[in-house]
Amino acid sequence: MSLNIKRIIIAVIGLFFLGSLLIVGAIENNKRTLGKKAAIKVSATSKNCVDCHTVKNPSLVEQWRDSKHAIRGVACMDCHEAQKTDVDAWEHEGHSIAVIVSPKDCSKCHARENQEFQESHHADAGKILGSLDNVLAEVVEGNTGRLGLDGNSPAAVNGCWQCHGSVVKIGKDGRPTPATWPNTGIGRINPDGSKGSCTACHSRHTFSPVVARQPDSCGKCHLGPDHPQKEIYEESKHGIAFKAFKEYMKLDVQPWRVGIEYTAAPTCATCHMSATQEQNVTHDVGRRISWNLRPPISEKIDAKAIKAGKLVESWEQRRKNMKNVCSKCHSEKYVDGFYVQFDSAINLYNEKYGMPSTKIIKMMKAGGVLTATAFDEELEWTYFYLWHHEGRRARHGAAMMAPDYTQWHGFFEVAERFYIHFVPQVKEACEKAIHESGEKMVAAKEVLKELDTILNKEEHKWFLGKMSGDEKASRNAAAEEFKKRYAQN
């Protein structure tokens, strides 16, 4: 081959090479136009949304770009597109869209997750809207009239509803009303009739499992004086380990099984929802809970359904489900031992405080010793604090191994509330009623008699100064032993 031919060939191949570099440049350019992720493909219908909202709400679009949805080609219109007949449909840039993406919309792709969620207690969180707590927000704390927002109490709108969910109402313009939206309460009642809000845990628009698996996600609602699960978790060894080893938690991997993908610590999701080698992930958060620790008197989680004649998973099976998770880090005996301790705490609360106080209050309400109006008397507040705040703290503290919540924020305050506030207030209200004639007087006497029976029970006798000789002796012996051991005088 002559030199000249060689040179010509070099020139030709060189041109080809330059041409190929143009293709490389075009690919790079295309990537930049569509977003940072190479794999992101936006459908033609969603391209306009992306282009416009990139300018108007850049972070919103960027968060979506970081999502698995974006990588898999699920874009704006796949979730927000609405039928013209939908109650919440409105015209936007030539498309019929809806603002709210309900669990029903998500179920187009995530059917199993939606099914599980609909069967969960979370989906029914909106039921609170008819409960005693709601009387507080609507009436006691707030106002639905002069100071209300479209006939709703601002206390409920900004407080209760943001966790429990609003009943979303649609205005004349097809958009949700400001009183009921924005809202990501987990039991939201959506315009399409479906219950719930996936974004309550899977924050939009990244929908990252990292967020949903964070204890902080649950902590948006499960914290505070009445159900401090988040703080309880943080006090427990579980929470301590999570904080220490968060970087090893692989919160973004799929599947995410304790003992396989990660071993460092459990989060709320680990125990209540996530998969193990034997169990699938579940969006029914009650599948591993054996006690209902919310009501004034705790009961097994299936009790209500059994009373209503409904067939549900038994509490024994649910406990087995939870034990399966525990077993990934703890031995069988250890887990069994924990449940013996936990059950004993719930039994103590129920028998010593929950049942007696509830019985007394019911008798007083029925006999007219207390008025029919909720929260208009100090005793009602005392009782509410007893079971709704302190009683739950003691129970939840025991459920999730937080000793301080069980003791000082829990049983200590329950006892103080019972002996120092509840008992004197019951006596005071009854004595007041006795001075009045009629049914009230009879009922008050009955209540006092019942209170006397309660206080004369073995666990309360100390309050009347009636501790048995044996018990006194054993307490003194214990005190002596303690002094001796720690060389105290």
Binding site: L3, I10, G14, F17, S20, V24, K36, A38, V253, E261
Partner: protein, 352 residues
């Protein structure tokens, strides 16, 4: 009359760099035999060109790569998806490495079947064999740095194989891993091997390889049609250099098209707790992997070490073969069997 500026500049330079241009020309324009006009004989320069590409693209990748277990995968994700032209550079590096191994093997095949390793070029063959192993080392360590599932588990299997080597195995495996198990130390070591030790060794060996070639000259062949030619040689520069340039540009073109159609991918993040269903090394280790699967680990490793030793000392083995079996073409037959076995094992592993 004042001297022209260019001429005075040349004088200035010549004073400080006293190299005779004519001597330099004789070095670069050294005549090379006619047979080098055949493309087949230009294969030796190809891996060198690719090695050059690897150094350039490798340096670019180093700007972004983070050699820690927590940072490695993320930095490669960053290179692949975020960094401007990162995917192109990474894909070039990947395809260039694979092509480098192909061309090294082709060059070796050519040298083997033309008997170019024979007296007096035995030592250069041995240098070449070491270069082959270093190239494999570069491939293995480079693949390991990605830190996705397959890459991580390839290291796991690789170090376990090393561990099963008799006598030195456990020590070697501990040395590679930087401890009894794969950890941050392992990644650091693989990284140092990939970016410093192996490239430096290969660069040194390339120089040595070329020095040997220059000292001994390339093996001279004469094809039938060349026998009639009056000029038995042609100049290295520009003739042969142009050939190499042509090859270089052609390779760049092919590599770029490969990156366009088959950009380097990225698997799931490495997870030490989950063994993937199918652990596979890079294709050039398929034969070795299959061989290990077919035999027991002990025999498998020993067999491969023996194979490597035989290849390394082949010019001397060949000497005895010729002495004991004259005129049988025994070396060609054995070579044919050896290369066929490698191909069969590779294809077999690829299909399973």
């Amino acid at each position: 009359m004042p001297k022209p500026k260019l001429s005075s500049l040349l004088d200035w330079t010549k004073e400080r760099i006293p190299v005779d241009v004519q001597e330099w020309k004789s070095f670069t324009n050294e005549p090379v035999p006619n047979h080098l006009k055949h493309w087949w004989f230009a294969l030796g320069g190809t891996p060198a060109i690719l090695f050059g590409f690897q150094i350039v693209t490798g340096i670019f990748l180093l700007f972004y790569y983070v050699p820690t277990p927590t940072g490695a995968y993320d930095s490669i994700t960053n290179i692949t998806y975020e960094v401007r032209f990162g995917w192109y550079i990474r894909s070039l590096h990947k395809w260039s490495s694979e092509l480098m191994i192909v061309t090294v093997m082709l060059h070796m095949t050519r040298v083997y079947f033309t008997g170019a390793y024979r007296n007096p070029r035995e030592l250069n063959w041995m240098v070449g064999v070491v270069m082959l192993f270093v190239t494999f080392g570069l491939g293995f360590t480079g693949y390991s740095l990605i830190y996705d599932q397959l890459s991580y588990w390839a290291v796991m299997v690789g170090t376990e194989i090393a561990e099963s080597t008799p006598l030195v195995g456990p020590l070697a495996a501990d040395f590679i891993r930087g401890g009894p198990e794969i950890s941050a130390n392992t990644l650091t070591r693989l990284y140092i091997f990939h970016i410093v030790i192996f490239p430096a060794a290969l660069a040194g060996l390339v120089v040595l390889h070329i020095i040997f070639v220059r000292l001994q000259g390339v093996t001279e062949f004469e094809f039938d049609h060349e026998k009639k030619l009056e000029r038995k040689t042609f100049p290295l520069f520009p003739d042969h250099i142009l050939t190499e340039l042509l090859i270089a540009i052609l390779i760049l073109y092919i590599l770029t098209m490969m990156t366009v159609f088959f950009p380097a991918g990225l698997g799931e993040r490495a997870n030490p707790l989950v063994t993937p269903n199918h652990i596979k090394p890079e294709w050039y280790f398929y034969a070795s992997f299959k061989w290990l699967k077919l035999t027991n680990v002990y025999f498998g490793v020993l067999g491969q070490i023996a194979f490597a030793v035989v290849i390394f000392f082949w010019p001397f083995v060949d000497y005895f073969l010729i002495k004991w079996f004259p005129k049988t073409g025994m070396s060609i037959k054995i070579g044919f069997l050896g290369f066929s076995a490698y191909l069969v094992l590779t294809v077999w592993e690829a299909m399973t």
